[in-house]
Amino acid sequence: METFAQYDVGGFYDELIAADGIPRPGAQLLVDKIESLPPGDLAMRQRAAERLLLKMGITFNVYGGEEGTEKIFPFDIIPRIVPATDWRQIEAGLKQRIFALNEFLQDIYNDKKILKDGVIPKDLIYSSRTYRRECEGFTPPRRIWCHVTGTDLVRDGDGRFYVLEDNLRCPSGVSYVLENRQVLKRTFPQVFEASKVRPVDDYPSKLLEMLEYLAPDHVQAPTIGVLTPGIYNSAYFEHSFLSQQMGVELVEGQDLVVNDGHVHMLTTKGLKRVDVLYRRIDDDFVDPLVFRPDSLLGVPGLIAAYKAGRIAMANAPGTGIADDKVVYAYVPQIIRYYTGEEPILANVPTYICGDDEDRSYVLDHLDQLVVKAANESGGYGMLVGPHATPEQRRAFAEKIKAEPRNYMAQPTLSLSRVPTIVGDRIEGRHVDLRPYVLFGREIYVQPGGLTRVALTRGSLVVNSSQGGGSKDTWVLEEGR
């Protein structure tokens, strides 16, 4: 196998190798190790890691795929390394951002000061499909709305991190962070030990601590459940993994019933009251009485019990308004408004198609822009202009004209790359980074996160549902 001697950073920001071909600080040990391996050894380690993942049952589902529901999530054994200095900025930036977004949610469903002060256009909120009128006037337990978030970051050619999008509904992927680490510890045990990588494996206990914090005051030992839509959901593995790691119940809608105004679990010994739900079902499906009546994934009466304070839920319903991709464009203003500080992490410059001037720019420059629908995720409903055919661009232009409010556009970023095993070579592949943030007694940012990698050469779409893979993310201890 060819190694780093022939590696070309190709004019991109590379996370491991500087432009002059020298490993970045913190990556030297790893690069030396890979260079010293006998021929064929790296490929063997990659295969061993894949076998281990399959054996551990780390799989995901792709909607509309025909090759069975479960696949292993492609994994590359060369880790992405984040120096402590970079991480300090990311951590502070995420804490600031999530704090502000939580304030925003509380305000938008209650006093609406930010609208009255004209910081955000009112029609933006009222026209959003994820603005939940059912949450008007509501304050969730401990005044926390977005308990679990996964914020997607990218590093541009200038070496700076930018926030690409916020995920405040049901972000998934943290189980891969934990499992990838288990696998990689066995792949490069000595380098891992010597590199002083910060641990990620206390995430389940932090998650549990946060959920316990939400329980009603009079409940001593709360009963907690992870509410899953079931085995056909793309993240079912994660739901079962997290419930097992936390030692709490894994339940589906049909296992729960609202009785006497409280939520109960059907058990072989009768009904058992549930105090906190970590729900991994979208707002639309959580309660057929309140949201979509055609869905039986959820629990009828759950929202009434929740609003009466009989049960806590993470995340709160209604958080989708804060990760609407058009509201995203206003997050810097949101941060300034609620904290009085400048945003530590920058947004990617964004054109709002509902704005006449922005829209005509977008329609004229579709070949250079990435266009996204306001309320879609997982890489669905988006157009990567430079990689689309003229036909696709024309079709997308029609969609934008028909419903401008529902679209925004961003310049195509030159995403940073990480060396990745491709056949018998190591080549650079584009990555993003999704760190996970928990909001309980305090805000906790897991040191690491999911590095997603676009495995196709030149591709910028890293979503697992669109053929992306993942890597372990090594956040180094201070002083390394």
Binding site: K122, Y126, R133, N259, D260, P288, L289, P300, A304
Partner: protein, 291 residues
Amino acid sequence: MRLRVSHTTAYSYSAPASLSQNEVYLTPRQTATQQVLSSELQLTPQPEYLHRRCDYFGNIAHVFMVQQGHRQLAVTAVSEVLTSAAPAVSPQATLAWEQVVERLGRHAAEDELAALQFSFASPMVVVEEEVRAYAARSFPSGRAVLAGALDLMGRIYGEFSYDKTASTVETSVGEVLASRRGVCQDFAHLAIACLRSLGLAARYVSGYLQTLPPPGRPRLVGADASHAWVALYVPDVGWVDFDPTNNMPVGESHITVAWGRDYSDVAPVKGVVMGGGTHTLEVRVDVVQLG
């Protein structure tokens, strides 16, 4: 006009149902042209949990739960209201529709902002190209907004036939436009979609209409039905209600219960039941004029 309405929804189950949870919008609203004299909800069997709440749009909803085994469930609302006619508005004197769209866009006044949220797509009102094209014919440039709306209403009344078998509560606007048939809910959704396609604000109103028997025939008790119509926001005037199913303005014989973005916000009775096997449903509505 003093009216009494009684509305019964009765389910019979082939096997015992163990748990039933429901939300009903059956209590009339107090409005400028409607005074609610009394309103009572009767539930059989007696629910273990009953909660009355005011929703986002200011409607009154009741949520209840029956937690014992039951083979029948009946919900009856009996209300008495005093209705009066809305002040007459000259359609030609209203603003040109483009100006209304512009006013909503600026939403400088509080009630314009409140109206704005009825100008977007909602769960059951999706605006498609065909709808836009259908609406455009009633709204040539510069036409007074209410004159355009009344013309649209007349076209829907003339070009569509009332057919109880043509649709269900889930029929989409596109299907109604293609088949040219439907019931009051469908015509209201279609009119709302047309108005919103232009950028106007329109809401769905759920209620009842007193029907009169043909001359010389006795009035049949229980032959009435729940009804639905449309309200259009007209700046400087307010919400103007009109009834596309009957091609008439909304007046003293209409009883307003609730309004929202579309049917899904204000369905009169909805619920989820566990067990019960198959069920049969009986609905009776009776509107009578008192004194």
